[in-house]
Symmetry: C2
Subunit: 330 residues, 2 copies
Amino acid sequence: MTKRSVTMSDVARQLGISRSAVSFALNNEAQVSRETRERVIAKAAELGYRPNAGARALAGQKTDLFGLVTDIVSTPFAGDLIAGAQEWFWGHGKSLLIAGTATPERPDARSIEMMLEHRVGGIMIATTWNRAIDVPAALENVPVVLVHCFDALGERPSIIPDEEQGGREAAQMLLARGRRRIAMINLPEDLVAAQGRRLGFEKALVAAGMAIDPASIVTSGPEPDSAYDVARALLAAGDIDGVFCANDRIAMGTYDAARDLGLRIPEDLSIVGFDNQETIAKYLRPALSTVALPFREMGRRGAELLTRASEDIDRKKIVISCPPIARNSV
Amino acid sequence: MTKRSVTMSDVARQLGISRSAVSFALNNEAQVSRETRERVIAKAAELGYRPNAGARALAGQKTDLFGLVTDIVSTPFAGDLIAGAQEWFWGHGKSLLIAGTATPERPDARSIEMMLEHRVGGIMIATTWNRAIDVPAALENVPVVLVHCFDALGERPSIIPDEEQGGREAAQMLLARGRRRIAMINLPEDLVAAQGRRLGFEKALVAAGMAIDPASIVTSGPEPDSAYDVARALLAAGDIDGVFCANDRIAMGTYDAARDLGLRIPEDLSIVGFDNQETIAKYLRPALSTVALPFREMGRRGAELLTRASEDIDRKKIVISCPPIARNSV
DNA sequence: GTGAAAGCGCTAACAA
DNA sequence: TTGTTAGCGCTTTCAC
């Protein structure tokens, strides 16, 4: 705690009015004269009065704190997510309590406990990769919104990216460039992201009047080294002129494979990634065209839902579209 | 706020004892009988009693909230920093309020204001890159600790990485590999990091009995594309067998330059980076040997200093060493 | 339009 | 050892 801080009573006393008058004035309630209000505001500023959020919450039986529990904090996406959430919260006079955790579905019990003790108005749970999670039981009667994940039972509102639309965008970038012998290096098929991205990809090809050759859709682990082997085999075998990599790290491995095979990007081979993981996509040579995961927007919408949650708790899934980011690899 | 929650009075009433007895029992104060304490704890658990952090802070004139203001949230380092800070805070019953901001030296005034209104016990300011900052005036009488940055006036305690020792480690990795024609691609010389890393690098060479050829230390922008040009010129000109890149992104550009020049890593050329930016260092082929910025440790120490700050505010600079991370590029 | 007064949930003297 | 009693700083009826 800072030294003895200026309280509302101090302001009231110096002005010779009651505490409630000060409270009303500061909170813009109707029942104060314009003049009183101005005097109060001036005096408060002069004294360096700063409301005590805890006391206010106690008395008013309401809170301005919201919690964010996430594993995403250790990824470059965190910035966008948090920025999006803060954008909304701050715009509405709320504060954000953050707990980083290795696994959001089993967060350190203490992080949840701490938020609950602070009587947060709601909790946002966000994950690094799109998946189903079990909401911790302790959160039973607290508004919760899931971001980039969803609960298996569909009982909680959830904000997820439109993987399918993203996959479509990726394919369209390749098609627009005139590529016709297009392959996809997908993530393991059990991932939600893999399923959606592939579906979109296939739909776009079909819509363009092309047939889907099952052999042109291969699977890789999420990391570049695994992708390198898969990509190398794929590129060496067929004559492919465009490949959609289900994430940017796979694209990174594919770059290396292409180079080792003497293929120039984008002259001989166009590549599109997914995720828009900036430290990779921007720095690859040539810079990688990709599809972004809309973390900022998801964070903002999540925050919005949470502050509204008290009114009407919807339990819908909100789908946010993934914007294509054109760089130089197509 | 959750529904009407269980209060201390509820517990006391059901047990037929006073509120203070409950308070003492729950807070492990001496003045309760063992038996009463146990009954209280059992009843509290049964009722699902959860202390109200705000009320407790109000009554006890102390807070368990601490703030973190940082721009680092948008980088992969954030995870380590926050994990380190939380590790300490949670271990000591404190909570962390986080504000992401584009520029920590001029944080959104509201983020600071919000923390102050919550009467945080102290604020940690952390930056993405090591530099001097001006601590916002509003923080005048609040304990502050600077992490990965420092204030020009030296009035605030600050935790910084040992850039010089890190530079030395980098050079030593190269020397240990038997490299003798070693160059350094440095960051712009006005950066604290650039100065320290270079100093360490030079000292290591001198200690190894080598002369410093000024021409072998060149400067690059922090990004791969700028580094590519610099590295290409450097490698094309001299016959160099080892290069220390002042950050991992520079190393990334250097990889490309080396490859385009037909140089194999590490056979023909050993490369060492700095920062241990995982999405880059781990994924490069071959994986990049580098020196890590100890964000986790810095976060932990910062938190520690902050919770102790009330007792004795030291205004020293604490220097944390940067551990070398050996991978396959040397 | 303004003030008095009753809490919000908890801690910490002080008495018993 | 236990209970009584003030507050902590603020909001919010309810009279005036």
